[in-house]
Amino acid sequence: MDLAKTTTGLQVSGIEVEAPVALVEKLRVSYRAGKRLIPVLVDVDLTVAPGETVAVVGESGCGKSTLAGALVGHLRAGSRIAQGRVLIDGQDLFRSSGAQLRRIRSGTVAFVPQNAGHALTPSMRVGDQIGEVLRFGRGMDKAAARAEAIRLFGLVRLPTPDQLLTRYPHQLSGGQLQRVAIAIGIAGAPRLLVMDEPTTGLDVVTQAGILALLADLRDTLGLAIVLVSHDLGAVARLCDRMLVMYSGRVVEAGPTAELFTAPAHPYTRGLLASVPRITAPGLPVGMTGGSPIGPGTMPGCAFAPRCPFAQQACTHDPVPELTNRPTLTDSRVSACLRTEHVLAQPVWTAQVRPRVPREFGPVLLSVTGLQVDYRSKPDAASGPTVDGIDLEVRQGEVVALVGESGSGKSTIAWTLAGLRRPTAGELTLHPRTAGEAGGTAGTADLTLPAAKRAPQWRRQIQLVFQNADTSLNPRRTVGDAVARPLRLLGLRGREARVRRDEVFADVGLPTSFADRLPAQLSGGQRQRAGIARALAADPALLLADEVVSALDVSVQASVLGLLDDLRTEHQLGYLFIGHDLAVVRGLADRVVVLYLGRICEEGTVDDVFGAQGAGEVNHPYTRLLLDSVMDPMPGAVARIADASAPRTKADEPESAPPPVGCAFYRRCEQRIEGVCNTQAPPVRQPVDGHRIRCHLPLTDLDRSDELVEVR
């Protein structure tokens, strides 16, 4: 009772009297860097009622992972609790003895990490790793532990549990590892499961399966869950309540549905406005720039420098308190002084960047029959890695390649860049509009490796990489990196510097950054520098390989906006590689869906994604992908999320293409035995330019009636 009262009215209606399973009070965690103490968490409060699912959202560096660790009594080396306490089942974790802590961890609270591949001991069989938790935590003998482990593996819907017990972590796929980690998490029969980004890094179909599993486990086991995530779709899908964190503090908290529909804090609004949505026909508007500043580095609200509603009062001490403000419902709190004003403003809904009507130029890139074979010798069990790829990119056009990991998207890009040798096919780069300064006569054969291509053609194709951390040399200045490709243009000295400054301006980086090292830039700035380097060569075609997938949503929105502007300004063609369908929906003109190196479907974004995030006619694989997408809408449920169905096959990506037939047939629920596995699928065209490679007749692929039903 007492505990519940102290929690600033955060309790969810209906479970007011029950003692919370987790209670965090005024928690302040600091990190020692050299001689300075850097605050990581500041005055964080959190209450989790039994059976409740609470989300902690925010961008990297906001302290959400530190909070997750604190809930299981774990702090990073060098961090310490400066103030406050963390109670699990009434017991203060940071004032417990080693034995008490072990007892709590093996029975009351469990942690599921982000990357199960790193979190499982590589030298131990997964069966032994779950078995030891059962034996030491629940006192079972070996036989009982084995039986229980098999039951738990079944519960998390792993196929053939008894066989999996003897596997080592490296023998399992990402999705399977995450399921094993969840099984180990629930093995001690905990009351609270703390999960740090449990689906990040997994393919979209696998993600949907894991989230469905979690929802199911929560309901059947009565688990309380704290879900730390930046994925608002997952939060909307799973969580009753959410906390939004910014710069080490909670800035807003309340029921998920209310926060999604009427966000009270400007940061929550900005976050929601940054998320691309598959139902929206354009890119998200995002929020105004700048990176978050560290907690305690300036007086007042940490978000004020980026806040469109900020007034003078916002930047004065003391920091705005997190309280239930007038006009908010009882269960909500916000740390914004101007909550009433903010709430009165129109909400983010349906705001998108306006799409400029496009006219595409002549064809830049044409690919026919591309095949890349990584196998050292042909074997009967599989086919080439990439096969039968036909592609065209026109000037000013964005063509997106989508598919799960292993779909061959990056292989295609790398082959075009001259870093891989194709085994068959014609790859041709055409000159830009005649008469233009950069125009070159003739065409270029892209089957040649990069070093053998003529410099004027080499510069026409430029790669932009996914990971901004590794795409720039940490020991060279940003200016140096951008200036390097200018040599391909024959520019040196002053001319090169002028051009470099132009490119910096193009990507929105101050020229003063030229002397900085990559480590002195934020993630978004580094990605901009990576784009600047590609742009410096004055290319016609950009190969953008997952360029925004490692970025936080607000940064992602601004980089996507930049890419969109650049292609209009410079009439660039993009081959945009991505796995986030909502991003592709917002940026691309045409989309090519790949499965195991083969094209399943291609068409305009409108044909493939339709008006509601699903086309009227789709390839079964495209449909699986689209159905797995979770739109960040309160109450939204991925269409695939039929929690009762055991998903042992469909949500596990395969790694090698079959030698004959349709690449997707092994996972396809509509496959025709004897046809799909023996013959290459024919091309079907529901409308001109929309091509689906499938044996099923179009009438079987049509689901316009179904769409009406769902929405």
Binding site: Y31, I38, V40, E59, S60, G61, G63, S65, T66, A68, G69, H74, R76, A77, F111, P113, Q114, N115, H118, A119, D196, E197, T200, H230, S291, P292, G294, A417, G418, L419, A450, A451, K452, P455, R458, Q462, L463, F465, N467, T470, S471, L472, N473, P474, R475, R476, R484, P485, L488, L517, P518, A519, Q520, L521, S522, G523, Q525, R533, A537, D552
Partner: protein, 298 residues
């Protein structure tokens, strides 16, 4: 987005973070490395300024003053021929240090070039190089050195050459491993896609990122070569009497250890402080720059 044990608080710009800045600064910033550098510098000064520092000639014998214990005129006493031990200790490192610097520069230089090339080109070049290295490494280093020295004599150029051949393979392996973790990174891929000259890519993109490893290797190999040269002298395959040389001095005064311990202990301390200094410098640098200092045997 960080795992439970990784990631720094805040993904934001690290304004004045010293991470990308110079190797020199991290050397100066680490007390361990500084201690090492100071020790090594002291030795260098001692070797260079030996003629001015040494109170006596290192080779002048004085049978009447033989085996004198430390006194105000002979701080470390004299040896069995009456030579001043302190003077001999001051001179005794010159030979070994000069050889070790030259041989370390050569073996680390060649090793860096070949190691980076092996990592960059991969394929048959890497394969053949590794086979040859394996064969060279499998021959006991001391055997190779003894054979070469016994045939060609113990001249400094011979020892430099032999030490280079013996230590180069290990350096190649270490640099290759370091470079391998860099060649796959996107900025090297970008250079490949730009069609840059392989050697230019290695020098511009790879070398700066393995430079710390190179420096650590240099300090370590230099220390090993000093040890090796001293061991050779000790075995009678290095400097010839009456040259002042630490290894030779220990060998000569070993039998008189109980009578005049300083004649042996003096050079031992000199040798050990030099090696400790080099090791501390390597350790401090490795620690400051976050390198795994995976070392082999002596």
């Amino acid at each position: 987005m960080s795992g439970i044990t990784t990631g720094s608080p805040g993904d934001t710009a690290k304004g004045d973070a010293p991470r990308g800045s110079g190797t020199l600064r991290s050397l100066l910033g680490s007390p361990i490395a500084m201690t090492g550098v100071i020790l090594v510098l002291l030795h260098v000064v001692m070797a260079v300024a030996a003629p001015w520092l040494a109170p006596y000639s290192p080779i002048a014998t004085s049978p009447l003053d033989a085996i004198v214990n430390p006194s105000s005129s002979h701080w470390l006493g004299t040896d069995q021929l009456g030579r001043d031990v302190l003077s001999r200790v001051i001179y005794g490192g010159r030979n070994a240090m000069l050889i070790s610097v030259v041989a370390a520069v050569l073996s680390v230089g060649i090793g860096t070039a070949l190691g980076m090339a092996a990592a960059y080109f991969r394929g048959w070049f890497d394969e053949i190089l590794m086979r040859i290295l394996d064969a060279v490494l499998s021959v006991p280093a001391i055997l190779a050195l003894l054979v070469v020295v016994s045939v060609l004599g113990a001249g400094a150029p011979v020892i430099v050459l032999a030490a280079t051949v013996v230590y180069c393979p290990a350096v190649i392996r270490v640099i290759r491993a370091g470079a391998q973790s860099v060649v796959g990174l996107d900025y090297v891929t970008a250079a490949r896609a730009r069609g840059e000259n392989p050697w230019a890519t290695m020098v511009r993109e790879i070398l700066p990122n393995v430079l710390d490893v190179v420096l650590v290797e240099f300090a370590m190999r230099a220390s090993w070569i000093v040890l090796l040269v001293s061991s050779l002298s000790f075995l009678g395959f290095g400097a010839n009497p009456p040259t002042p040389d630490w290894g030779l001095m220990v060998s000569e005064s070993r039998s008189l250890l109980t009578v005049t311990p300083w004649a042996a202990v003096g050079p031992i301390i000199a040798l050990a402080t030099l090696i400790v200094g080099l090791n501390l410098a390597a350790d401090g640098l490795a620690k400051a720059r976050g390198i795994d200092r995976i070392t082999g045997g002596a």
